[in-house]
Amino acid sequence: MTAYYLKLAWLSVRKNPLLTSLMIGAIALGIGVSMTTLTLYHVMSSDPLPQKSDRVFAVQLDTWNPDDPYYERDEGSAPPPQTTFRDSMALMESDIPTHQAAMLHRGFAARLDEDGARPERLSTRATYGDFFPMFDVPFLFGSGWDRNADDRAERVVVLSKRINDKFFGGEDSVGERLMLDGAPFTVVGVIDEWRPIPHFYDLNGGDFDDSEELFVPFQVPISLEYHADGSTNCWKPERIESYQDFLQSECVWLQHWAQLDSDAQREEFQAFIDAYALEQRKLGRFGRPLDNRLSDIMTWLEFREVVSDDNRLLMVLAFMFLAICLLNTIGLMLAKFINRAPLVGVRRALGASRFDIIRQHGVEVLIIGVMGGLAGLLLSWAGLIAVRSWYRGYEYLAHLDPAMVVSAIGLAVFSAALAGLYPTWRISRIQPAVHLKAQ
């Protein structure tokens, strides 16, 4: 019978294309707006490291000014999101974490070791070798570097796939040389496509920034006395006359992450950083009540308000808009179905049960839902293209993934079914005797 109902639904769709188009259009509009918003929300709030996000922690040390909170908002008393150089270096001495890495962002001018080549300034992350296993960074060729390379500030570099394609034609470039800021660096690894969204480990440049093109040992820019390109916040009036003064200052400018695989390990590391803070307090530092934090990735993203309340409000509004579209669809569907009452009366007289009528109209409702869903997907796609072109930083964010495509169709069918519930029930309850005479 399903094939028969599909045929009847198709005949009905064809018979009144304007009314059908209005219904499909109403559903599509609601789906398009809500799915565009939902897609952005879904990607913004997604877990960038789902396999271990509960074991990887952002480290926050409360070195900030005791008299003036870091944040203006509710979390005024919370520790700053970045660390000082000397605190990070002290933490790096601990062997409690499975992996840990201090890091900073900096641009390096890169070129091949050829005369006349024009250098290109590339986004570079200076970090420890633990960065790669801690964040499960996939490698195409080679690997990261070891702790010795960190300690000796070895001039080694890991390339992104794009840069390896550009400079080395996609070949295995491990062992090749690349000039960074005029100095030779040896390629030790090439990573595969890797773009964690959000860019959780450093939210300074934008929550949804692309990942870096180059990775070098943390001590390389330090040895070159480089500052970070990201945010540097200082609160203490200090005499900073040299780079060494800066490194020993209370300025926070580094990101610090640690992998702690068990509760015991986490508690041990928490105890370690608290003990360190208390020790430092004796030197006149850490003047605020003890509040050093280890935040797993999702807690961290929530703390940093990667998904803002505005985004949530926007999503609520989008779904309210969908509800309005559905109310319109209910009205249109009711008009269409009730107009058909005489024919339903004939079918009932010829032996159709109420359930047969419900199934016939239910199939039609589902067809309208699927068509509305497909049209809604097109609108979502167009909406996301518009978002990408209007807002910088959303380039890698505004994409429909397969899960969202399935969700869009599912939501459309569910919405259409919801909209069709009352009209279908009404048409199944008509008294055939009344309508047969009226035909």
Binding site: K15, A349, L350, A352, L436, Q439
Partner: protein, 241 residues
Amino acid sequence: MLNMQDITKVYAAGLIETHALRSLNLEVKSGEFVAVTGPSGSGKTTFLNIAGLLESPSGGRYMLDGEDVSSFGDNARSKIRNEKIGFIFQAFNLIPDLNIADNVDVPLRYRGFSGSERKRRIDEALELVGLSSRRNHLPAQLSGGQQQRVAIARALAGDPALLLADEPTGNLDSLMARQVMDLLEEINARGTTIIMVTHDPELARRAGRNVHLLDGQVSDFQPLEPPPAEADDDDGVRSVA
């Protein structure tokens, strides 16, 4: 085939009750061709709706083909309508978007027959009414008489025990009306019980038995003269205080 005892039908609208049928008693034997006549408002259509299980009686007992169907629920009534009753309407009531064969197919679909069985029955029914060659036409492409013959084919395709015809020739000219009546007589001759509601005394005379309704009851009075032509039959109700 059909036995109604003390059937009543009361329509209530607020404080006003309208008695459409009052203690109606009627028995129709298997194979009979009965014409039901009566003035406008006498309850003919209400009787036909109850006989066809399109409405439930307010009281009384209705036996159809040996079964007490008076208190059947909606699903059971739908099943009996589909399996035992064929309907022919004054306005033909064909489904305009479906071609002739698909119109005849409608009751067979709800019966759950296989595709081959449905095709056989459609072919036979269209053959019987002489419209095999028009099976792919839409109703709008046929004359009124042809449309009524399609409706008859649709009513017969499920091989019902009882055929209910509500003014089957009311929308046809005299020639087409005669053809339709010839067809109904032929169907009756094959053993199908027919109950036909009509205003037309000439058509009523062609039935085997006439039942006259008056004020919602079967009347012993048979009009000697044909009643004046009436424009339309309302729902067959008469208001009483």
